[in-house]
Symmetry: C2
DNA sequence: CCCTAAATGCGACGACTGTTGCGTTAAGAT
DNA sequence: ATCTTAACGCAACAGTCGTCGCATTTAGGG
């Protein structure tokens, strides 16, 4: 039952986008009654939150390519792919997060978890001597991923995978350069 | 009449936020009839778009501090201030942009204009020899402002002015470092 | 096999949003 | 001053969203 409903949500999302996503459409497509949807998921945002959490891999961890630059490129490619997918569940939940607090909380929980897990690649880079100890992992990841999110979500302009790669390299070099500048 | 309505929109925005912003509330507060609001502004998004365009300074231009780093810091401080203001019209329009195409278009027009104007500080830096010719201004500005937007709008976490400054410095150094790396 | 409780289907209802037709008012031109 | 036109106020209306009461089904335990 849950899977049918979530599949219907995804299909509706692909066809009509977030602003065209309605409970009734999900009901008729999934064959589940309106009332049941309202009772179990409360709202459209609730459906999207469940879809997000259903798609969240509990075992997810960032790729280990052997270099900070490579790791950041891998991260940025995942971000770019998630935001340009059709339909993009991430984009939909972002949209929903501006309407209901539940979606906003689910999204911050999701990102909080992801950024926390991704921090290990910074630790690895420190161990390799690519970065100085004490680097703020969140700040570094923000430098790498922030431009990608901003371009694709807020500015609503295209960003190729190559450009996403480039921003990853900029972040890697910027923080490595900071280290070089600290040396005598 | 227009100014009273926009003032009412801003006041309602401050009290109830975007998701609590309703046409009726604006009508009673401004003393203008519902129907008139629907006819002239079409929707809540229309009101916010008008508020954004009313607040947009036609003569705006980025500060000229004499250095790329200083200029980017000034830009990031404006962004940070706009996003943490109470109420933040920018945040409200961003929220509206996920519901109606009109708001999305108005927002991209606004940012397109701002980023285009801000590009002059990159040209100045090139003239001063701080940056190599041919630097992609948009990419540089994205590196500086992207993290600020992402942190404050999507991640919904605080970012101090000092942190915004830091991201401006990172961007300045990253692109300047790229130039140094190109030199023999 | 039956009994109980939880979940679902169903129809109807109230609340809210946006629209329309019509009368009234205000502004500008001759 | 009068006429014309556009904008506004007003009330009623339709469509949609979310909720509620009740009947039906399903699952689990005695």
């Amino acid at each position: 039952m849950r899977s049918e409903v979530l599949a219907a949500v995804e299909a509706e999302l692909a066809e009509h986008g977030y602003d065209g996503l309605t409970i009734d459409a999900v009901a008729v497509r999934s064959g589940v009654h309106r009332t049941t949807l309202y009772r179990r998921w409360k709202s459209v945002s609730g459906l999207l939150v469940d879809l997000l959490e259903a798609g969240a891999d509990d075992a997810w961890e960032p790729a280990d390519t052997g270099s900070l630059e490579g790791d950041l490129i891998a991260v940025n490619r995942e971000v770019q792919a998630a935001l340009t997918a059709r339909p993009s569940v991430t984009q939909a939940v972002i949209a929903a997060s501006f309407r209901t607090p539940e979606a906003a909380e689910a999204l911050t929980r999701f990102w909080d978890d992801r950024y926390r897990r991704t921090a290990v690649l910074v630790a690895r880079a420190v161990d390799r001597g690519e970065l100085p100890a004490g680097v703020d992992a969140h700040q570094l990841l923000l430098t790498a991923t922030g431009p990608v999110y901003h371009q694709l979500v807020l500015l609503r302009q295209p960003m190729s995978r190559a450009q996403a790669d480039h921003h990853a390299r900029i972040a890697a070099k910027a923080f490595a350069a900071a280290r070089a500048a600290d040396l005598p």
